[in-house]
């Protein structure tokens, strides 16, 4: 039996959290999210398009009673900007959780660690449950935990890259050293990436592009659900040791002359 998946005092059914960006259309998005089994979906805060009166809003497609809306601060490059977006998101009135991103570089979208720590301090002091998107650096992860973040979210590889888990050792180290949930965010490309990531023992995984940019997002959503469940179960089951020589699976006794 697995332990419940609790983040910031809330228990979630699925260890897979899913983004809502980049889908070809809203109907595909909803069906793909349903296929993942996720109960946490991420959303971004953006200006209302005044020429198309709220047409771009996501809430007409996703029932906030059914899904837990986790707002992000994607696109923010300074701590102040991220704090501003987080406050706006909270004002929408759903919850006080925020997926905090402070981006440091346009090409790699890697986190600005100094800005991230500063924004996390401010938001934790304001009562936010901060889920901090960070790189796979243990010291930053420890600092985020000390500050009071509800979860630390190291990347598997850069956002939208689909390169999979590049640094399993560092992610395992972070998981071993932190008490708060560790949720890998970004970089998963396909189901095997998700499975390997969960096999490291992390508490959960957040992805968007891997599902949204699949040729069949609904089927990939299903595959990701299975992969996350499979990787989690394999982690709990405890894998056999690796050996560089063969060991027969069938009896060596009882062979014919």
């Amino acid at each position: 039996m697995d332990t419940p998946f609790v983040v910031g005092g809330r228990t979630f059914r699925s260890r897979l959290m899913i983004g809502t960006g980049k889908y070809a259309d809203n109907e595909t998005m909803v069906r793909a999210i349903e296929a993942t089994g996720a109960d946490v979906v991420t959303v971004a805060v953006r200006r209302v398009d005044l020429d198309r009166t709220a047409e771009g809003g996501i809430l007409r497609h996703l029932d906030p009673k059914r899904f837990f809306l986790l707002a992000n601060t994607a696109g923010c490059y300074t701590a102040d900007e991220a704090v501003r977006y987080a406050r706006l998101a909270r004002e929408a009135g759903f919850n006080d959780f925020v997926k905090l991103e402070v981006i440091g570089d346009q090409e790699t979208l890697l986190p600005d660690v100094a800005g991230l720590l500063e924004a996390a301090r401010t938001l934790v002091a304001e009562g936010f449950k901060v889920l901090a998107y960070t790189n796979e650096d243990l010291i930053t992860a420890l600092r985020l935990e000390e500050i009071g973040c509800a979860a630390v979210m190291p990347l598997a590889s850069p956002i939208g890259s689909g390169l999979g888990l590049l640094n399993p050792v560092s992610v395992r180290t972070i998981k071993r050293r932190l008490k708060v949930p560790v949720i890998v965010d970004a970089g998963v490309g396909t189901a095997s990436d998700a499975c390997v990531t969960m096999e490291q023992g992390v508490d959960g995984i957040l992805m968007n592009t891997a599902v949204a940019a699949a040729r069949d997002p609904v089927l990939m959503g299903h595959a990701m659900r299975l992969a996350v469940e499979s990787g989690r179960a394999a982690y709990l089951a405890g894998r056999m040791p690796r050996r560089e020589v063969a060991v027969p699976s069938s009896p060596t006794e009882g062979m014919l002359d």
């Binding site: 960006g21 980049k22 009166t53 809430l59 004002e91």
Partner: protein
């Protein structure tokens, strides 16, 4: 003629009736206040207060909502 003032809404200049409240601005833009969060000169205005806050010439208003994102 109704007297108008120029404010900036979501980064673009817009003429609104002088003394209009934020709630009246939303209504003029056919926006349901339940679906947007309003920031007025960098300060968030909670929904119940939208009818109390009036805009003045040069004010900056941001109207945001949740959109798809990771």
């Amino acid at each position: 003629m109704v007297e108008t003032v120029e404010i900036v809404v979501n980064g673009s200049p817009r003429q609104v009736a002088a003394g209009a409240t934020l709630l009246e601005l939303l209504s003029a833009l056919s926006l349901d206040p339940r679906g947007v969060v309003v920031e007025h000169n960098r300060r968030i205005v909670r929904r119940p207060a939208l009818g109390d806050v009036r805009v003045s010439s040069g004010d900056a208003v941001e109207l945001v909502q949740f959109v798809g994102g990771g």
